[in-house]
Symmetry: C2
Subunit: 361 residues, 2 copies
């Protein structure tokens, strides 16, 4: 069965929430976030290596990052790197990947994974994926991985569990998917124990995924509905260059997962974080006794509490008397900002672009 | 008269109070502190250019900084750079300079200047020096420049004025010199209007200076009391290498200025600061409407007040919500510290040396 299993790693996302660490030219999936010597993308690839043969591993990214992906994953052959000519969110990417895989093996199943999240429980992850593959291979089923919601995070998407699948404790139908609830709603979600954090990891057979798009988003699906040879070799990039700009931008969870009666969720405690904020990073990182997190740098913190201090290279950072602060230092930019003001980083980044130019972004 | 006037610029001082900007290998006199393109040493040299001919300009520094001085002052010939083989404070340096100058011109007068201070009122400075030279050339007189004490600074040395010289408003006998008074004492000094900040600038004829040393510190003076040829050419460095390690370390104001009946002070508002602390730097620097001082970097400060933000090169620095803080960033070290805790920088520097090595110091 192994060779029928594919993996699609999404690594085209942009974003400046981790500025100055993430840059337009180097979003967070391409960064060695924890100073371990591996970028988040490389960690993601390593994580699925035991589950999917190397030749079945597919990367999908924006053209802009083609060189970076090749550089970070020298083992992956170029034909397995799908380059999006424009940004169109995850639904078109997943549908393209499904056709690409089906053209190679009509019976294949695949898992699609974000490349910029962190998963601390490797074994639970691999177990969940094995179970997930077996589950979707047994029928026309789509499956999402859901993580027990531990706090009322307002930047996550939540999956509401419906009826259990055959009295399973971990497998349920999906009732709804709710994106970024308000604070109060998020609290209700967590209390109810019906809602799981959506890890953005989806499984299905290639043809089940294609069928779901045909059923739920026929406009988009029809663009991709061409002979298999269009998804092979040089024809593919020409074809995609032609259709991609005309397609709607849509996330996959709304395109097919949210509305389908054959959508399921597998609950698993993956030690997952989408690392979308410095606060999330602080939450999952090892802390010293004062709650401080330091990354990469040689740091000395005096009278500091609950700070994140991150610097590139071997830099020495000495900080005195800060509480709940982000100190993020790179070659040409330094950010010092309270964690609670981190949603303003976007504004800061815009101000800097305007004042000093985009080379700092 | 011009060619009888010499200037001795002291540039051998070390110190880490401005770490990470000042380093052991690059103390603050060698730094372009204000981002003007000139180091404090270069500014000091420029300041006296109109008063003293180029060939009468003498630099005295520690051997360790010989290359730095030559690099920063390519116009100064090597024979005018006196290299101390060991650190011995300012008294031996001034006495050596007096002999060195007397060997060239027994009738010469000279001014000795620190190289790491700032003087904002260039014209007042030049006027004071002209007046000072004339004054000391008229007799066996030693002269210090004193600056009206504007605040009870506890890290300065103070000169107490005695009787006015011939009912002058600006020239007085020196009554005492008091080093680094406590807070309450400093307040009394300022209120009394009898005390001036000691700018560390001294004038005298070479032979008057030598005489004062003979009178007040004969032990030290006798070491230097040799034939003039010992202060010429190659003989000089050999002779100094021999005697210097045996000499006591002593500041010039205590050696000869404090006790002598022929010591005078000239009061002049020079816009002077010894720049010994970040706070002093903050005090004299131009500020934005929120009291923030930014140096060298491209900075964006949000909700910040009374901070100093300094970075090397074209770095972008974004700071949110700090009050009374120092943010000092260099290539391999970053310091974030409340201004009021700046006396602890010394400890931080020691900790860093111990933990990470002296390459960061």
């Amino acid at each position: 069965m192994g060779s029928q299993r594919y993996c699609v790693i999404m690594c085209g996302g942009a974003g400046t929430r981790f500025w100055p660490f993430s840059r337009e030219s180097r979003p967070k999936q391409f960064i060695d976030f924890f100073g371990t010597g591996q970028t988040l993308l490389q960690m993601t690839v390593d994580r699925v290596r035991r589950l999917v043969p190397e030749e079945n591993m597919i990367l999908i990214t924006n053209e802009q990052y083609a060189d970076t992906v090749r550089e970070q994953l020298p083992g992956v052959s170029t034909e397995h790197i799908l380059l999006e000519p424009t940004r169109r969110d995850t639904a078109p990417a997943v549908l393209w990947a499904a056709h690409h895989i089906a053209a190679r093996n009509p019976e294949a199943s695949f898992v699609t994974l974000p490349s910029d999240h962190v998963i601390l429980k490797e074994t639970a992850f691999q177990e969940a994926l094995r179970k997930g593959f077996e589950f979707v291979e047994k029928g026309k089923r789509l499956l999402a991985l859901g993580v027990p919601a531990k706090s009322p995070n307002t930047s996550y998407s939540y999956i509401q569990k419906g009826d259990p699948f055959h009295s399973s404790h971990t497998l349920s139908h999906i009732k709804t998917i709710a994106e970024k609830p308000g604070r109060e709603m998020a609290k209700i979600f967590v209390r109810s124990e019906e809602f799981l954090w959506n890890a953005g990891i989806y499984l299905g057979k290639a043809k089940t995924v294609i069928d779901a798009f045909n059923r739920d988003v026929p406009d988009m699906a029809s663009r991709f509905d061409v002979e298999a040879f269009n998804y092979l070799g040089e024809a593919e990039s020409e074809f995609i260059a032609d259709i991609y700009p005309k397609i709607s931008s849509l996330p996959v969870e709304y395109a097919i997962m949210d509305r389908a009666s054959n959508s399921f969720v597998l609950e698993s405690d993956l030690g997952w974080s989408d690392l979308s904020t410095w606060n999330a990073l602080h939450g999952i990182s090892p802390k010293n006794k004062d709650g401080n997190v330091t990354q990469n740098c040689r740091s000395l913190l005096y009278n500091c509490k609950d700070c994140i201090v991150a610097a590139e290279g071997d830099k020495v950072v000495a900080v005195w008397g800060l509480k709940d602060y982000i100190v993020a230092d790179t070659d040409n930019a330094l950010l010092i900002c309270p964690i609670e003001a981190e949603q303003r980083i976007r504004n800061i980044v815009n101000d800097i672009r305007e004042r000093f130019g985009s080379e700092f972004i």
